[in-house]
Structure formats: structure tokens, C-alpha cells
Symmetry: C2
Subunit: 313 residues, 2 copies
Amino acid sequence: MDYLGLDIGGTEVKAGVVDDQGRIVQSDRRASEPNDRTRLFETIAELIKSVSANRTPRAIGVGVPGLVSQNARVVDFAPNVRSLNLAPVSDLIAEISGLPSVVANDADMNAWGEFAVGAGTGTRHMACLTIGTGLGSGLIVNGRLYAGTRGYGAEAGHIVVQDDGRACGCGGRGCLETIVSATGIVAMAREGLERGVPTILRSMLENGTEGLSARMVLDAATLNDAFSMSIYTHTGRYLGIACASLINLLNLEMIIIGGGVSAAGEYLLGPAIGEAKSRTYRHTFESCQIVPAKIGSDAGIVGAALYAAKKYN
Amino acid sequence: MDYLGLDIGGTEVKAGVVDDQGRIVQSDRRASEPNDRTRLFETIAELIKSVSANRTPRAIGVGVPGLVSQNARVVDFAPNVRSLNLAPVSDLIAEISGLPSVVANDADMNAWGEFAVGAGTGTRHMACLTIGTGLGSGLIVNGRLYAGTRGYGAEAGHIVVQDDGRACGCGGRGCLETIVSATGIVAMAREGLERGVPTILRSMLENGTEGLSARMVLDAATLNDAFSMSIYTHTGRYLGIACASLINLLNLEMIIIGGGVSAAGEYLLGPAIGEAKSRTYRHTFESCQIVPAKIGSDAGIVGAALYAAKKYN
């Protein structure tokens, strides 16, 4: 039996038909229209048609970047795809496709994918942190996706790691994602460039700090640029502080690190694991593995499809 | 049916026979011998005999200050009652009393008491923070005490709230309990006194900072001593930072604040609630209440007895 996974992002919508082993049999993607609900759902309709041309999915799983109210099947708050605010996504998907669907936070869907067929198979208590533009997360507790009181948990990106840190989009300050995200990495690189720190990043840029990206900082780090390496070490250390809080609070079996920024591999995970170890009881630390994600950039599609499979199998 | 609750602390052991409504029908307490296992269990035997003279409990619940391995029924790590390290507490209790028992972390037992018959009745997802010498915590997830992979969760006292803060007993730095605890309050008061800050605390002390206590700082705050009030505001703010992390991470329905330090009431909760609100999404904040504990200093006995009742009813 096949299921369809949708991953709605601020810049792109991805869709895929996935078999019950988590293999993508057909996938497609389109630029998204984050602020126009009609256009957004036209794009979604086209994608559903495109990927299910040869296979008929039984149900659809939808990952959205925002707070999803579990009971009401409504997106309560999606700051980066504003047309989803208060949208009855399941109803709209049913109108388009005639199929039942389950709607959830996109990072929760990544976590579900990693739990079901990725790095976390066989665990009971795990977190998956998806580090991209921001930092999303999902939590598996007792083998089930943790929803919390209204369906909003888990937002590990808003664990406070720096009591007097940078302002965050959530209204807070010093949240994990102000540091551990592409946005945080770029901000730190820009501050250094503006301070006049010696770095090959300057020669990689044509016009001031325009075009600066986390990927570029990683490329510079792999060329042994000391400043760029220090940015990843700093980022990794704060990732480790958050891992320590998660380990101490939840005695997790595994923390999975995914998302585009996790391409930095050991530049990020090395400092993270060291920092987490230094801030936890030995007993608790030793029962937790901190590992890279397995599924890659399609985790959202795979996770959403498999989450629909769980609900509608 | 009655159950017996034991609360083993670093300075004192408390015991009580509790009915299935959570009412204490008989209780007693003795000084503890934290580093002598034989003496400690002699004391426990006396207490069990004393409180069950007129009522016969069906089982015993035991709260201990440390990491309790859920499966092995062994205390893995109890830094403040060293004689409990690797002790098979259930077996020892059975030898003494002939009764079955359940052993758990003391703050988990406080949380269970508040969940079962205190401020948290009717909730599904809640945390209870017990602020005393340190900061212990318990977490209820889906109406069950959260244990984690090996039984160690939840240790909210070791959420990192200050990335470069004071050294903590766990080996880490800037953990919640380095600030939000009697120890943290006394440390902050002492630093101020040594810096020469104007405060009536000085006149309350006879010999330098000897005898300084969190209670004394609270007494001074209620006399409008600005320095002492600022200590509770600071402590409350960091409590609020931790609440924000808990709310964002777990979308909790309730956070209950108990333990001796919570006697400060609004001095602590006022700043905590304000800070938590400023660091969370409105939707998530509004679904969570931050409230004082209801049961008071016997929560450990009541919770342990009711936890035994749940297991052996």
C-alpha cells in the first residue's frame, strides 16, 4: 500500500508517494506561494496529481511549518507560510484529492520518518532536531509522536540556551535557533566580517556580506579557515548545551541531528557531543546516542507519508 | 486500603501511612544517616514500625534523592545519600517489612502526589518543580509518570539556563538549580554581602555570612529590603526561563512549583510567569498554567504512598 507525503515549506512544496517500507516511488516539488492560500492549494493539487499518476495512495500526510492544533486539524500559527494560519488543511486536501489526511508540524514529520525507517528505528524515547533556516524538532515518547496539550510540542528550537542572547522570532531571546540554524551561522559570520576578522569568507563574497550562507561558511571551514571553523565549533557547543538539557530532562535514548545545516557533520557533532557530555550525569549521558539523521532532505515527505500510513493503514 | 510513603533525604527520613484519598493518617520522621547503609535502614525499619502501629499498609512507596534505575530497582546514583548508591532498596525494604515496594526519585514522587491529589489533578501533561536545597522535578506525560530510557527522567534542575553560569554538582555549568534553589539564593546573597551591597540582611546575621539562608533572604524581602527582593526577582526570572523551555519543548498544561523555596510565593512566581510569557508563543503559553503546589512538605510521603497504591492496588 502507498501513501502520499507533502512537505509544505516557506519557499517550496515537496510531494512524494512512498511505499510502506518508506521508499519514495515518485516525487516532485514546486515553488510555494506562502501568502496566497488559493495559489498554494492549486500548487498542492498539481503536485498530488503529478506524483500519484501511476500509484494510488491510500491517504496523505502533510507536514507544515507551524503550530498545528491536534484536535481541531487546523494550523494555529504558521509564521513562514502565512496563508496556512487558521487553515483547515485536512478539509482542503480532501476537497482536492478525495483522500483522508493527517496534518502535523513538519519537523515532527521528519522525526517520525527517522523513527520509523531512519536512524531511530527500535528506540522508544528520542528527539530529532532538524537544523535548517530555523531549528525544528520532534519528540518520540514511548514509541509515539509527542503532541503535548494542544498538539504544539515539541519546539526544541525555543529552548533557551543563552539567557541574554539574540532576539528570536518567537518574541523570546537566546532561543536555540537564534544560534543553531543557518540564520544563526550567517549572523555570526556577518558580525565577524563586519568586525574585520581575517577570513577567506571575504574573498568568497563579491559584494559585502551579500550572498553569505551557512553552506559557504562550511566550505570555508573545510578549507581550514579558522574563523569559519570557530563558527561551527560555537554552533556545535550550543547544540550540545541543548542536547544536555534534553538528556537531563528526558533521559532520551537518542538525539538525531538532521536538516541542511547537519551537512557540517563532525564540525557540528564533535563539539556538540563533547559539550553534552560535560553537562550531564555520566549515567544519563551514556544511555543516549547523538547521531546524524539517515534519511536526508526527503525526511519530511517520508515521515508524513508513514505517519498517514500509521493512521490510515 | 492504606499505603506507606517513605521520603529519604540527606538530613531526614520521613514516613507516613496514607489512605487511598491521599490523607496522611500517621506520620513520623527521624534524622537520616546518609553514609551508613545499615544505620539508615535501621532508621527506616523503626519508622515503618512507628507509623504502621495502628494501620497495616498494603505496600510501600519510597522516594530517594537520586537516579533510580527503573528496571533494576536499584539506586544508580545518589550524591546526597551515598549509602544508597547501588543499593537494592526494594529488597532491603522487603526484608525489613515483608511488604512489596516501589522505589523512585523523590521529586518524581512529589510530582505524582501533586498529580494524583494536588494542584495537578485532571491534567494530562504536567511538570512539578520542587525547589529546596537543589531543584528536583517530575514529569507527567499522558497521565503517567515519565521515566525515560533508564528511569532517570526528569531532571529539570539540570536544564542549562545560563550558558556560562556557576559550576553545578552534576559537572555542568549554569544548570537551573545553580540559580533556582536555596543554594543559589544563598550564594547570590553572600556575593552581595561580600560586595558591600546595602541590605538589612547584614543586621540579621551575627557573624559574617554564617547562618545565611534562603528563608532569611525571604524574610528580608518581605521587609522591603531591595537587595533581597532583587534576589527573588532574579531567581524567579530564571525559573521563568526554565518554564519557557519546558512550555516550548513539551506544550505542558501545567507547571507546579513546590518545595521549601516556593514559600516565597509571588516574589518568585510573579517574575517567573512574566518571564515565561515573554519567551513563548502566545498559543503555547496560554495553554499552560504556572501554579503553586498544594500539598506542601509532605508531598513526598503522599506521592510515594499513592504511587505504591497505583502499582499494588
